[in-house]
């Protein structure tokens, strides 16, 4: 994904000698909070990009009324804020608010051991994570790493062993290997005859985490084949080679899923929840309204039974709106699969192209197909429309917005939101197309699409929440099975393009020197990307780790509600002569209650538990207060 807009100020600091006092005149601004409470590592980029954030508007009376006129508002806010940001940056530098010991960084330190150790003889398949898929007859289907010959042999062993246990009327679930007091590796098996899946992990994932991941891989297979077809294929010939049946795209998708599970940043799988696009309640209602009106439109009424579900989803798998029949919901895994397909496989879809895709939702009905009408909601058209409207409305704000959009667009990778309509009827394409077209037209005419595009790359940041010392957090609302988190720059869940991936399948070998190279500020674009990816990887591992402090190996919470703090500190003895960067002092929090799940990572150096707890509470309060914006609560029900 391209750089988000509005980040340009980071590179061009202009010296302006304006008094700091202006800051004080705006006590309501979150900036004030941040400035008076210098944290050890202030996240500048995230702190100051608030302008692009819809909530901030709230604190200022001028914007309280008209959210729909977002663009113009944003424009003014932007110029306003840019000044302020520069000032602030300037003043902070001159005041030297940077604390004594710690370098200011928006990084979290590397907390986890690197696999690579040159001294030990390297095992045949030394990977942090490995996935195998094979048929029950022992035919390989897919392997994440490894040469074919090696993998064949290993799968032979898996097959033999599982068969041995099958003969003894049992199944192997998991193997945990350890040495002394530390668990070295976990091997988890999932037997979904005629398919057998296995995962190996040297990380701190629990057996349950790994089972979830395997289930997702299996779900993908079902998604393309359907359970019925799968059993049919294998019932005919037990040693059927599924590889001949799967397409190249399937393998690409499997690789991609594995890759994104292993090295990407995807709390979706960890939490088993959907990410939701943050937007105003009114906007969301407008979206729901648009969907509903077209489904319930008298013209469409005849074909009303045709549509089952409707979804509008923003890049990164962020759910915007759901249209669903009363009393029915879609399983999170099904939606993850769908989103994964849309944002991985179908982003090349042209503006005027529509997709009519049979897809099996394994958790909905694993033996049948539903049919999806997928249409990307590109800005191209909206820009044209906007441009034509520009003449009439003369709003420069809007044109400036579309400028940004066009800036983004040249790189074709920039993901687009998508409209998905799901039907159970094979031949209802035209009916859905009609509904879809109606929805798209409405979205454009009501400027909802612009808003989605604008918001989806922005989200909210830590600065919006009065929570001190917090680097990043994930809040999952159990009721909604959705989670939110502050924006991460360049975050893109489903679109880490495969070409890049092939190289940056960073096994830790490549990354072992990461600690030093991270400090090297100057880097080429690729380096920057790699570093960002490494950052996300660290973040993900940290989240996985801290979540294990409230939930046990089998996915059962320690108790109804658990509050856990985890702190990493330098142990005093410097290891293997590596130049030590900053001293590690990271405090994390995992909080589990029947209603929510909060995972939180603090800035390096912030270790006052009480303050962190206060911050955590305010995050929870904030998330509850803004529930309407953060989550799709009910969706459009018909």
């Amino acid at each position: 994904m391209a750089e988000p807009p509005l980040e340009d100020y980071v590179d061009e600091f202009q010296v302006r000698d304006k008094p700091v006092s202006r800051l004080d005149s705006r006590p309501a601004s979150p900036f004030a909070v941040r400035a008076t409470n210098p944290t050890t590592s202030v996240n500048f980029t995230s702190s100051f990009s608030t302008s692009s954030q819809p909530f901030l508007g709230e604190s200022r009376p001028s914007s309280s009324s008209m959210y729909l006129d977002l663009a113009s508002e944003r424009q003014s806010v932007r110029t306003n804020h840019r000044d302020l940001e520069h000032e602030l940056l300037q003043s902070m530098r001159s005041l030297d608010l940077t604390p004594r010991d710690h370098a200011v960084s928006n990084e979290i330190p590397s907390l986890f051991e690197c696999i690579h150790s040159s001294s030990a003889p390297v095992a045949a398949l030394r990977q942090e994570k490995q996935f195998f898929i094979l048929s029950s007859a022992g035919k390989p289907v897919f392997s994440m790493h490894g040469q074919d010959e090696l993998v064949m042999g290993l799968m032979g062993i898996i097959h033999t062993v599982t068969n041995y246990f099958k003969v003894h009327a049992t199944k192997v679930r998991a193997i945990v290997n350890s040495c002394g007091n530390s668990v070295k590796q976990k091997l988890v098996f999932l037997d979904k005859s005629p398919i057998l899946l296995m995962a190996v992990s040297l990380r701190e994932e629990s057996v349950n985490d790994l089972l979830q991941q395997l289930d997702f891989l299996y779900s993908y297979l079902i998604c393309t084949l359907s359970r019925r077809q799968l059993t049919r294929l294998f019932s005919r010939r037990e040693n059927f080679d599924l590889r001949h049946f799967l397409t190249n795209t399937d393998f690409q998708n499997l690789t991609h899923i594995c890759e994104s599970i292993a090295n990407g940043f995807n709390p979706d799988f960890l939490l088993g929840a959907l990410r939701c696009l943050t937007m105003r309640k009114s906007t969301r209602q407008a979206l729901h309204g648009v969907m509903l009106t077209h489904v319930q439109h008298p013209d469409a009424a005849a074909e009303r039974g045709t549509i089952l579900y409707g979804l509008i989803v923003a890049p990164g798998g962020q759910l915007c709106s759901v249209l669903r029949p009363k009393g029915h919901t879609l399983h999170t895994t099904d939606l993850h699969l769908l989103f994964s397909l849309i944002f991985n496989q179908f982003q090349g879809l042209q503006q005027d192209q529509e997709l009519w895709l049979p897809i099996c939702f394994p958790k909905f009905n694993s033996s049948g197909f539903l049919h999806c009408y997928i249409r990307l909601l590109s800005d191209d058209k909206s820009r044209n429309v906007v441009a034509s409207q520009n003449t009439s409305s003369g709003s420069d704000a809007r044109s400036s917005l579309s400028e940004y959009a066009s800036e983004e667009n040249p790189s074709n990778f920039s993901p687009k939101p998508a409209l998905v309509l799901i039907s159970a009827q094979k031949e209802s394409f035209f009916a859905l197309k009609k509904i879809g077209q109606g929805i798209v037209d409405d979205l454009i005419s009501k400027h909802l699409l612009e808003q989605i595009t604008a918001i989806s790359s922005l989200g909210f940041t830590m600065a919006d929440i009065p929570a001190k010392f917090v680097h990043h957090f994930i809040y999952k609302s159990k009721k909604h099975v959705q989670y939110v988190m502050p924006r991460l720059e360049e975050l893109d869940l489903y679109n880490n393009d495969t070409y890049d991936d092939a190289n940056s399948t960073f096994t830790a070998n490549e990354r072992s020197e990461g600690r030093e190279s991270l400090n090297a500020e100057d880097g080429m674009e690729t380096d920057k990307k790699g570093r960002h990816k490494h950052y996300l990887y660290k973040l993900m591992r940290t989240y996985t780790h801290i979540r294990n402090n409230v939930i046990d190996e089998n996915g059962v919470p320690f108790n109804k509600s658990v509050l856990s703090f985890v702190q990493w500190l330098s142990d005093g003895l410097p290891m293997n002569d590596l130049p030590q960067g900053e001293a590690v002092d990271v405090l994390c929090l995992a909080w589990l209650t029947p209603n929510f799940e909060l995972l939180l990572i603090c800035n390096n150096g912030a270790s006052d538990r009480n303050v962190i707890l206060k911050s955590a509470k305010s995050i929870v309060d904030w998330c509850r207060k803004n529930e309407d914006r953060l989550f799709v609560k009910n969706g459009a029900i018909f």
């Binding site: 898996i158 679930r173 530390s182 590796q185």
Partner: protein, 644 residues
């Protein structure tokens, strides 16, 4: 509950056809179904699978990194440890209904191996495969059969099972400090060193002296003062194993006796038939009845820890015509002058303290060798050698004298009497200075466990899950002293064998009663009688957890076990330390810290926390521990100070 235990070593295979050669032991605990026994092929297939999975795991990480593997099946768990570079020990657990964590089994598996090495040396040291198999059969099978009969022993150590390579030390340092200043005379340690270790008569012969404090608290839970008090020779590599062995015996057999130490006892499932059935079948009712009465009496008496009453035996002896047993019994008494110090001897005050050799050449001459000297394979300075060990007790203290094998003087009774005298002097000093400190009555509001990674010492005040078995369960088990049975149980009263003990924790008053018997085999048996003074002080638990119900304690241990598991799975960088504070809504507040040197576990109840947070100094270092209660924090700081 247990399925099978097997030991195999794949390196014993030389040829393709030799697959059965790797098999050293395969014992199945399941009732053998009619006609269906596991064939050799099936056994070997089982080994093959275990080995295959082991090798398979090795392709993803260096297999040298691994020493333990837990294979979770749907209805079973296979727990494997690899010892001595190639011996696989696998325990199959059919634990569908029992949710005992796998690491409890793994810990016991490791203990089992450790103990076997103590008994007969390294497995790889055996030249003959057959011989090793015999030894394994002798040792591993009874070990696990007993645990299978009494699964609660698996629970006993609770989360301490996370560290099978560590050993418990008695945490009596506090008292030591206060007393060192007050007592003008030399300390007990110095005395011991001077009088026993460095004594001319045994110098160079006596390798080491190990002092254990093994209290049997009436509350059944006090664990803080339990464990090793002192060992004198540095570089005693087998110390953890040895200490764990002592603790294991003490726990499983509820008390250490000569029989236990000599390895002559075993739990067996008692015969189910009622005595009355026997009576009905008998022709001469009246005689049988009287014998029955006597044997019941005898039976009751034997519920005391082998302290069967002299007169009871006498009567039975008359009835059953085994009068010869009387002389046997008197022979069992070591003939040493000091035995008069026991209660009901002619001394005016019955002395509370009792002391005697448990295993020594002083024991009756007809008893097997193992009662006279215990041969143990111990490792000093990395060299594993066989040593002669003698066991001596004083109240609740156990002293192990480790002699070099060629030291002949231990057969000299004069020398032993002399040593006995010196030991009782020193240990009574230890008692007065350290172990007598009466508890101030206020239980600690927290529990701690500290594991030192270097010294492998484990200090802990967590109460353990002592088996408070209900009588219905225990009655089906009896402790059988294998040797004595043949001597004393003849013919009619075979069922109520004299040498049968009940594992039931005898209540204090019954022990008192047994103490009032003029004399008896109590010498040999449940020696660790509690002094009355101790009883009074133990009314108060030492920690807040001492009073919680058994089941809750077990769940707490399970919870903490899970917490520790998060430390074990943590893949933090080696130069970091990890601390965590876990708060459950049921009141458990647990602090865990792992550094390269030690692991600390602290638990308190946050419901009890006094609201004194305000006055705490804001930042005393970056520790999560400061958010525990004030008492904990004080302890923590003191602990830090003593370390530095």
């Amino acid at each position: 509950m247990l399925d099978f235990i097997t030991v195999f070593n794949p390196s014993y295979i030389t040829k393709e056809e030799d697959a059965e050669k790797q098999l050293l032991l395969f014992h199945t605990f399941q009732e053998v179904e009619e006609g269906r026994n596991l064939s050799l092929n099936e056994k070997i297939a089982q080994l093959g699978v275990i080995q295959a999975l082991w090798q398979f795991s090795g392709t993803f990480a260096e297999s040298q990194d691994m020493s333990e593997s837990v294979i979770e099946l749907e209805d079973r768990v296979l727990c494997t440890i690899v010892v001595e570079n190639g011996f696989f020990v696998t325990l199959g657990i059919a634990a569908a209904e029992l949710d005992i964590p796998a690491n409890y089994f793994a810990a016991n598996l490791r203990h089992c191996y450790d103990f076997s090495v103590l008994q007969f040396g390294l497995w790889s040291g055996f030249t003959s495969r057959k011989q090793l198999t015999d030894r394994l059969n002798e040792f591993l099978v009874p070990f696990w059969t007993e645990l299978n009969l009494m699964p609660h022993h698996l629970w006993y150590k609770g989360f301490m099972n996370c560290w099978p390579h560590c050993y418990k030390v008695a945490d009596i340092e506090d008292n030591a400090k206060t007393d060192a200043s007050s007592s003008s005379s030399s300390s007990w340690e110095a005395d011991l060193k001077q009088q026993v270790l460095l004594d001319d008569s045994s110098f160079l012969g006596l390798q080491d002296l190990l002092i254990y404090h093994l209290p049997k608290a009436t509350s059944g839970k006090s664990y803080k003062l339990y464990g090793l008090v002192r060992s004198f020779t540095p570089n005693f590599d087998s110390l953890p194993q040895f200490s764990n062995w002592i603790e294991h015996l003490d726990n499983v057999y509820t008390r250490l006796s000569s029989h236990v130490l000599a390895g002559n006892v075993q739990f067996k499932e008692a015969a189910e038939e009622e005595p009355t059935v026997l009576a009905n079948n008998s022709e001469d009712l009246s005689t049988t009845q009287s014998i029955m009465d006597q044997s019941r009496k005898l039976y009751n008496n034997f519920t005391y820890p082998l302290s069967f009453a002299h007169d009871a035996v006498h009567e039975v002896g008359n009835m059953t015509g085994i009068s010869s047993s009387m002389s046997l019994l008197s022979d069992l008494m070591p003939k040493i002058p000091s035995w008069k110090i026991w209660p009901n001897s002619d001394d005016k005050k019955a002395k509370a303290a009792r002391s005697e050799f448990l295993i020594s050449p002083l024991s009756a001459s007809f008893l097997p060798e193992s009662y006279k000297v215990k041969k143990m394979h111990l490792s000093y300075d990395g060299v594993l050698q066989s040593f002669n060990c003698l066991f001596w007790f004083y109240n609740e203290a156990l002293v192990v004298l480790v002699y070099k094998e060629n030291f002949g003087k231990i057969w000299d009774h004069e020398y032993l009497h002399d040593t006995h005298f010196k030991l009782s002097q020193c240990i009574s000093k230890l008692y007065t200075s350290h172990l007598n400190a009466t508890h101030n009555g206020v239980p600690d509001s927290f529990c701690y466990a500290i594991i030192s990674k270097n010294t492998r010492r484990l200090r802990s005040s967590f109460p353990l899950n002592t088996a408070q078995e209900n009588s219905t369960k225990t009655s089906t088990l009896e402790l059988v002293v294998s040797g004595l049975d043949e001597f004393l149980a003849i013919g009619t009263n075979r069922k109520t064998s004299v040498a049968t003990l009940h594992p039931l924790q005898a209540s204090a008053n019954s022990e008192d009663e047994s103490g009032k018997q003029p004399w008896g085999l109590s010498l040999m048996g449940g020696i660790f009688k509690k002094g009355p003074a101790d009883d009074a002080s133990k009314k108060y638990g030492e920690t807040f957890l001492d009073d919680i119900p058994e089941e809750k304690l077990r769940f707490l241990h399970l919870d903490i076990n899970k917490f520790i598991n998060t430390l074990n799975t943590s893949k933090r960088a080696p130069d970091l330390k990890e601390e965590k504070l876990i708060k459950l809504n049921n009141g458990v507040l647990c602090f865990l810290s792992e550094t390269s040197k030690e692991i600390v576990v602290l638990v308190e109840n946050w419901f009890d926390k006094k609201p004194s947070k305000s006055k705490r100094s804001p930042r005393d270092g970056n520790n999560l521990v400061q958010y525990m209660g004030t008492e904990v924090f004080k302890w923590w700081q003191k602990n830090k100070r003593t370390q530095t």
